[in-house]
């Protein structure tokens, strides 16, 4: 299994300890888009911002890739999740920040602050 710092690109196989509930917890904590595979085989790409396991019908909520939503998906109808989007909180260690700062000082070129600037 990829460790929690390196989930990007991971496509966990649901078996043994790696239950769908465990993958959902990791995906909920992941600061990037994921691809959610539903029981009927259809897929939806989006950011999982909520999960509630303490209700009669546990669910997750997402904003899709275009920002539409929120959409609610029942956990019972999810068969797999792939960590397909960039982890926006990764590579952001303090050391990485200091290196970036040094680079900017040397080159005089500002690097993107966030996903929006990266997109632009």
């Amino acid at each position: 299994m990829a460790d929690e710092k390196g989930l990007q690109g991971w496509a966990p196989v649901i078996s043994g300890d790696m239950t769908i509930e465990r993958v959902i917890d990791l995906a909920f904590d992941y600061r990037g888009n994921t691809t959610i595979v539903k029981s009927d085989g259809t897929e939806v790409v989006g950011y999982i911002f909520n999960r509630n396991k303490g209700v009669a019908e546990p669910f997750i909520q997402i904003f899709d890739e275009k920002g539409n939503g929120p959409f609610t998906l029942l956990i019972s109808q999810i068969q797999a999740i792939r960590f397909t989007g960039k982890d926006m909180a990764a590579g952001n260690s303090y050391a990485a920040y200091m290196e970036r700062k040094q680079r900017q000082k040397e080159t005089g070129i500002a690097e993107p602050l966030n996903a929006l600037e990266e997109e632009a």
Binding site: F28, D29, R31, G32, N33, Y47, F49, N50, R51, N52, G54, Q61, F63, D64, E65, K66, G67, P70, G85, K86, M88, A89, N92, S93, Y94, A96, Y97, K101, L113, N114, A115, L116, E118, E119
Partner: protein, 340 residues
Amino acid sequence: MSVPASQMWTVASYVLRQRLTRKKQYPLVLMLEPLFKCNLACAGCGKIQYPAQVLKKNMLLEKALAAMDECGAPMISIAGGEPLLYPQIGELVEGLVERRKYIYLCTNALVLKEKLEQHIFKPSKYFSFSVHMDGIREDHDESVCRDGTYDIATEAIREAIKRGFRVTTNTTLFNTAQPLNVREFFDEMMDLGVEAMMLSPGYSYAKAPDQQHFLHKGETNKLFSEILLNPKKNWKFNQSPLFLQFLMGKQDYECTPWGMPLYNNFGWQRPCYLLQEGYAETYKELLETTPWEQYGKKSGNPKCADCMVHSGYEATAVNATFASFKGFKDTVAATIRGKP
């Protein structure tokens, strides 16, 4: 300890009303994040690491005002992201002033001067800019990871004060803070003419880039005791004196996570401003369905062990003022003495 008298009266009568009606859980300040987008990327902030489609989202104005109406707190702190980038910030503030809510607009002030020139806001006793200032020039620029921000922010503060606005500051301190520098910073802010200052130890955001510099409890007590030892008479704090005593280790409190609830584009955040364990659709649902016993120091939850943030404990301190004669006496004594 300076908070305007009308505001103190509003908050005091609100808290007393809640206590008289024996309400156990009530909000004191609504923390509203109408957007996540920011024009800075501070090393200690874990609020903005989202994919682009989430950063692009702006809360509907009606939803923001409905959240205020639902929770009914007497005060609101508009944060984010950078709230001055929220397209309807003028209308939002206007709607809140109409509701007679005391508003703190938390801003890094990078675009404040520009917004003042556009006449988006009108001065009001209900409305204050709360400018994010983390220390003297060198410390602030280091903390927000961009050179020149201290100068831009102080120029904007001067301009806002000149135009008749209430201006306060909010300061987050990490274990790199030097007490003498912080005291010098207080002098600078008072000289600038800010109304009062708000302090908090750094939040240990799980997603913040800088995980090395968050304060542990003992460090927080030591740092704040050194900073606030023999405070100068002209230093004004926009906080309960009991909360400052708590930061110094002179009071022992349990947190009140529902006291400063957070509402953003995802909903009402469980359990608090700092931890992100899920969302409720309404404030009522947040209160009724969050397993509160799993949070706070007593719970033994390791995520809460070192937490002393104002969003968890300021409401406790305010409540303590009215909960016992001792709390009231301590608050009055600290206010008269002018030191926590």
